[in-house]
């Protein structure tokens, strides 16, 4: 970064800062978007193998160029704007659903030093931004001027709003345990080996958070937004071509974000599970030591595990009925979080902190 700053020395200081931030944003978003593209391939391959099929294997070696072929195909398709649709909002909606999913990466710590913006209220920022994603759904449904799209938007928006509450309460438990809203400090609070990670003392909140995350992203088994057997697609029924693909990208970007956040909040982010367990002599072995020690590779590994869970759920579970989704959100997950937070508060008041 210093070398780039030195190269840009002839520019005014403020412009240099802006350029540096832009470079960092690109450095984060390019891998994220690449991961989104290859997550679609991974999904088809993983579900294929689970169902004893091959999955896509025609484009490129082992089907590795399939996402690129898909992107090219979608880009050259015509975007049809329905008659009497609110044109500006119709085009804006996909962008609104994708933007928060990408903007949230600004505060995600990839390793001890690798974070774009290490702000105090990082957790609140994430919560605020993920709550904005629902606007993409609502605006898309309304702007399409279609009854199917409107009804689909209403049901998936109601689902997202309902599960957001359970998600927020799960985060409250995490910040009580960590004593901070800063994501880096939340990870630091889990330092000292796998038994210090929050998923053990907060197992209930961990499960609630991940289940709500699956429901928030409208993924199977909560994917009533596109329930083929009941309604025609849902809020994005009138979209075609790249506009539809952007909704798709937003869904996958949100999946990766939920995986990364679950990792940070409950599984110690970039911390190694052997941290504090293995002696220092093992960690100083050249290659093996850096592999077993903390670092960005653990973050990627844990996030990938949660992404696999997303795919696994889709291949395994049948879709929930809509009233059961609402019941699970309001009558099961929210009471669980309330009781858990109360118990955690008692534990803190009594000075009994199992996570330390």
């Amino acid at each position: 970064m210093e070398t780039i700053a030195a190269l840009l020395d002839f520019l005014p200081q403020e412009l240099v800062t802006v350029v540096l931030i832009l470079i960092k944003i690109v450095a984060i978003l390019l891998p994220v978007l690449l991961a989104v593209a290859y997550l679609t391939l991974a999904e088809r391959k993983v579900i294929g193998y689970m169902q004893i099929r091959m999955g896509p294997n025609r484009v490129g070696p082992k089907g590795l160029l399939q996402p690129i072929a898909d992107a090219v195909k979608l880009m050259f398709k015509e975007i049809i704007i329905p008659a009497n649709a609110s044109k500006f909002l119709f085009v804006l909606a996909p962008a609104i659903s994708l933007a928060p999913a990408l903007a949230a990466w600004a505060v995600v710590p990839f390793s001890e030093t690798l974070v774009l913006s290490n702000i105090n209220a990082g957790l609140l920022y994430i919560l605020a931004l993920t709550s904005l994603g629902v606007y993409g759904v609502i605006i898309a449904g309304w702007a399409s001027n279609s009854k199917y799209a409107l009804l689909g938007a209403l049901r998936s928006a109601a689902q997202i709003v309902a599960y957001e509450i359970a998600m927020g309460f799960a985060l409250v438990g995490v910040l009580m345990a960590a004593g901070s809203l800063n994501l880096g400090e939340i990870i630091e609070a889990q330092r000292g080996g796998i038994h210090h990670w929050f998923f053990i003392p907060l197992i209930g909140l961990f499960l609630v958070y991940f289940i709500s995350g699956v429901a928030e992203t409208n993924r199977a088994p909560f994917d009533v937004a596109e329930g083929e057997s009941e309604i025609v697609a849902g809020f994005h029924v009138e979209y075609s071509g790249m506009a539809f693909a952007v909704f798709f990208l937003a869904e996958y970007a949100n999946m990766i974000l939920i995986g990364a956040l679950t990792t940070i909040l409950f599984l110690g982010g970039w911390l190694s599970p052997f941290d504090g367990i293995l002696p220092q002599s093992v960690l100083s072995i050249p290659v093996l030591g850096s592999l077993l020690g903390s670092g960005v590779h653990w973050f990627v590994f844990k996030t990938s595990f949660f992404l696999l869970l997303f795919l696994w759920f889709r291949a395994t579970f049948p879709r929930y009925r809509y009233d059961q989704i609402m019941r699970l959100g309001w009558k099961v997950l929210i009471p669980v979080t309330l009781v858990w937070i109360f118990g955690e508060g008692l534990a803190i008041a009594l000075g009994w902190k199992p996570w330390q």
Binding site: S86, A121, L124, Y125, L132, L154, A158, V161
Partner: protein, 201 residues
């Protein structure tokens, strides 16, 4: 003009324009969306003033929750725009009076020494403002805070009680009962002797 000042004027301009559009735009859904834009730019201004906790809370509560429900209602209503605009001239004087009173009140708050408004302090301590607000809220202002919480709770219960309508004639499913059902509740295995085939049929 520093970069921060530029950002301030940028967000302030968006906020004022969006607030104007809220009351001038014809379509109620568009008006609600402009209100969302107003809230977001207000949040940006607060964050610019280093009140990041309040700014993010504004986005979380008003934009993420309140306005979503607001949009739900506005989208589902069959609003006749021409009918609403009919009485504009007759409402205008009353609206003007309210607006003038609000301007005077805000002027009093901003200028009068009784209200004692000071410019934001320069970084009072190394405590983040989330922590600072939390400390004040749970120590000095703990009773007002709890009274506000109780009032909100009463409001929630009242809203539910007012809208709750028991309709015994509607049929609905109870998932708990559905899950509890065992085979024996629904199917009865009847043993019967094999009947003789009638001859000649």
């Amino acid at each position: 003009m520093t970069f921060v000042q530029f950002l301030f004027y940028f967000f302030a301009a968006i906020q004022i324009l969006a607030a104007l559009r809220v009351i001038t735009v014809r379509n109620p859904v568009h008006a609600a969306l402009f209100l969302v834009l107003t809230f977001v730019s207000a949040a940006c201004l607060w964050i610019l003033m280093e009140a990041e906790f309040l700014g993010l809370l504004l986005v979380l509560v008003y934009v993420g929750a309140v306005m979503v429900l607001f949009l739900f209602v506005v989208m589902m209503l069959d609003v006749n725009i021409a009918e609403i605009r009919e009485g504009f001239a007759s409402y205008a004087p009353a609206a003007l009076v309210v607006a003038v009173i609000m301007v005077i009140e805000m002027g009093m708050v901003l200028t009068h020494r009784i209200f004692n408004v000071r410019p934001p302090l320069e970084k009072a301590s190394d405590v983040s403002n989330t922590e600072a607000i939390g400390r004040v809220m749970y120590t000095d202002y703990v009773y007002p805070f709890e009274i506000a919480a109780v009032v909100l709770l009463v409001a929630i219960i009242a809203a539910i009680a007012l809208t709750l309508r028991r309709r015994p004639e509607t049929k609905y499913q109870t998932p708990i009962e559905q899950i509890r059902v065992r085979r024996n509740d629904r199917v009865r295995l009847v043993k019967m002797k094999a009947e003789k085939k009638e001859s000649g049929s």
